[in-house]
Symmetry: C7
Subunit: 69 residues, 7 copies
């Protein structure tokens, strides 16, 4: 690669900020990013999904279309 | 990664507490988390799914959309 | 992980007992658990599926939603 | 694991016997098991599928729901 | 395994012979097998598919239901 | 391989240029490529998707059909 | 294997020639093959897809049904 930066490094810069996870089925999950891994599994604090709120959720990465930071 | 915490560590903190597993097909399984692994396979004690109760189930991780802790 | 137990260990404790495998398509296979592996492939003795009985079947793990022990 | 036997070992005991492979789409392939591997790829001799017969086929394991021995 | 033969070895014995690749969607590709690998990727010479002919094609293994030798 | 170049090297040459990511569902995401990896996960700056704009998104590679450079 | 040739070697012989990539959804992408890898990711120069032309695209291998050389 000509660039030493990896795409998931962008997630690392967003730890403890609010992000939006766009799922493959068109839905969105919002929350404060607490942790992620290389599969794009993400732990979100104070998450909102379909008008419900959750103190902490872990989203399985294979459901993700993209993450907006 | 800028954060040393991994997203599945959040599951580790919830061992022996009641969690809800939201499946990709929109259904939910509730139960007491006994164990998990990196695929998000989870062992749940006293699990409830579709109005039935089970002493112990093991959910295959690839069915999971997200887990609420 | 904060817990040394792995979710599939629960299957190990159920060797030679009757279990129910719930498939992703909503169907169920019952039988006596003889062996399993980390993919949740399971060998079932005296298995029952869709009103038929089989002396021994091997179910491929990727069809599994959850296993009830 | 508490049991040293692996689920696919059951296939090893059925080499050169007639087995039935049940596919995820509900169809069945019958034949004499000549070889298998850990993906549940199977080589079947004198195979029958949808009213046709084949001297030798190799079924890709990811199509398999379960194998009856 | 109780048998030292692997299922894909059957493909090795069919190099330079005409085979039929049955796809998951029910279609068939015929051709002279030139090479294969463990994913069941196959290179076929003088291949026929849907009434067209091709001098050489490479089929991606994950589309394969079974191969008839 | 007869060629030392890898297909994803083409992405490396496009860092900091505008690219279009064509998704499997027929939609398009445009943006300035900041980083990519071998799974075709891509980080896009000033991304546009379905008439919305995002300062930075990370697209999960398994949604990608192709990338136009 | 009885044959030392691997199926993707056929792609290596087609570098800098025009090929056609047939996708799983029935569509075709044509272009000059510049690079490929073991996942059948391919970089195509002067690519044509659905009546549009692109100077360079990278197709993700998991969309491919077969490649005609």
């Amino acid at each position: 690669m000509m660039d030493t930066q990896r795409p998931l490094d962008a997630l690392g810069k967003s730890i403890n900020t609010n992000i939006t996870v766009f799922l493959k089925d068109g839905k969105e999950i919002k929350g404060r990013l607490k942790a992620y891994d290389l599969h794009m599994n993400v732990a979100l604090e104070n998450a909102k999904f379909e008008e419900k709120e959750y103190p902490m959720i872990v989203v399985r990465g294979d459901n993700v279309l993209y993450v907006s930071l």
